[in-house]
């Protein structure tokens, strides 16, 4: 991989890890690094305290662990397809290169 690609990967990792290191939990704080939608829910609670959600999710994961499992499943489906494409592409490039190498060596032999 080119140096530039490595630098891009490093920047992505830093952008993900730095908030975890920089943001410390004040004593007694709960819900640090919870979802921003939970915070929005709290904000709605302060702006419109009488608002009640009029519909509940049709399926609620039994626990946060099950929810993590389902999110991981979604990520795995996406990563699986991308991995398949990447593997196929690399194999195709290698096959193309070796075909070219064989053709050029045959041409060299004929020239001799």
């Amino acid at each position: 991989m080119k140096t530039r690609s490595w630098l891009l990967w490093a920047a992505i990792v830093l952008l993900t890890v730095l908030p975890l290191c920089l943001i410390g939990a004040p004593p007694g704080t709960e819900g640090l690094f919870g979802g921003s939608d939970d915070r929005a829910q709290q904000a709605i609670g302060t702006i419109a305290p009488h608002y009640k959600p009029w519909f509940a999710p049709v399926f609620q994961p039994a626990s946060s662990e099950i929810a993590s499992l389902l999110f991981a499943l979604q990520a795995a489906i996406g990563a699986g397809v991308i991995g398949y494409w990447l593997g196929l592409s690399v194999a195709r490039e290698r096959a193309c290169n070796s075909e070219l190498a064989v053709t050029s060596s045959e041409q060299d032999r004929r020239a001799d």
Binding site: G35, S36, A43, I47, P57, V81, S89, E93
Partner: protein
């Protein structure tokens, strides 16, 4: 992060669904026509959809002390045009609403509008504008994916501010409050999405140059690989 189930009043939920429905129909038609004309692009469309699927499942920590996820729809918008990403975003949001209790069926229209319509269209417009200004392909792709992601969450903030205006400051105060939650959290995550999209486009340019030749991301005269 999307608007939670039941957290938009019925009139707003219906209104956003009505706004998003024609875009979805247009997107399905555009995708169908595109694939009929170029069946060889099926694999790349699958990769673009998988990218959105993968990225929208990754809840990443941010500087505000809360987590959010990228959208991943910018890549597909640059490759196949923004309309093609409407059905893709719809499927991702439906999956999350049905199986993950993330977003919701009543808020699907609003979430489709922010993530699958505004995000891809902003990405595409930013890409065209920056490419025309002479930016390199990488810079144009980065800005497009990053700003498309941010635009999604600014739209979510506006949708919530419209539904829940502040009693004193009205829409503006409420929008600032929701943008502070959604858009600010999204800044480092949007930058990550921009960088990741550049990496994927570079890989596609290397491995799928033939299929990419006529696609928007390559058709515009950007400086190759610069």
């Amino acid at each position: 992060m999307h608007i939670m189930e039941g957290f938009l009043p019925p009139a707003h939920a219906l209104g956003w669904a009505a706004v998003s429905a024609p875009f979805l129909a247009w997107g399905l038609r555009s995708m169908g026509r595109g694939l009929q004309a170029h069946p060889e692009r099926r694999m790349l469309l699958g990769v673009a959809a998988a990218f959105a699927f993968l990225l929208s499942a990754l809840k990443l920590p941010s500087v505000t002390g809360s987590c959010s996820h990228p959208t991943g729809v910018g890549l597909g918008a640059l490759l196949f045009g923004p309309a093609a990403m409407v059905p893709v975003g719809f499927v991702v949001l439906l999956f999350q609403a049905l199986l993950l209790a993330h977003g919701g069926l009543t808020t699907l229209g609003a979430n489709v509008f922010s993530m699958a319509i505004v995000g891809p269209f902003v990405s595409y417009a930013v890409f065209r504008a920056t490419a025309k200004l002479g930016a390199s392909r990488s810079v144009a792709v980065f800005l497009a994916a990053c700003l498309g992601d941010l635009a999604t969450y600014l739209t979510t903030s506006a949708q919530l501010a419209l539904a829940f205006p502040d009693a004193v400051g009205g829409f503006d105060t409420s929008f600032l409050k929701f943008a502070g939650i959604f858009a600010l959290t999204q800044v480092p995550i949007a930058i990550s999405e921009g960088l990741l999209t550049v990496l994927v486009v570079n890989a596609m340019a290397r491995f799928n140059a033939h299929e990419l030749r006529a696609l928007p991301v390559m058709a515009l005269r950007t400086r190759e690989g610069a």
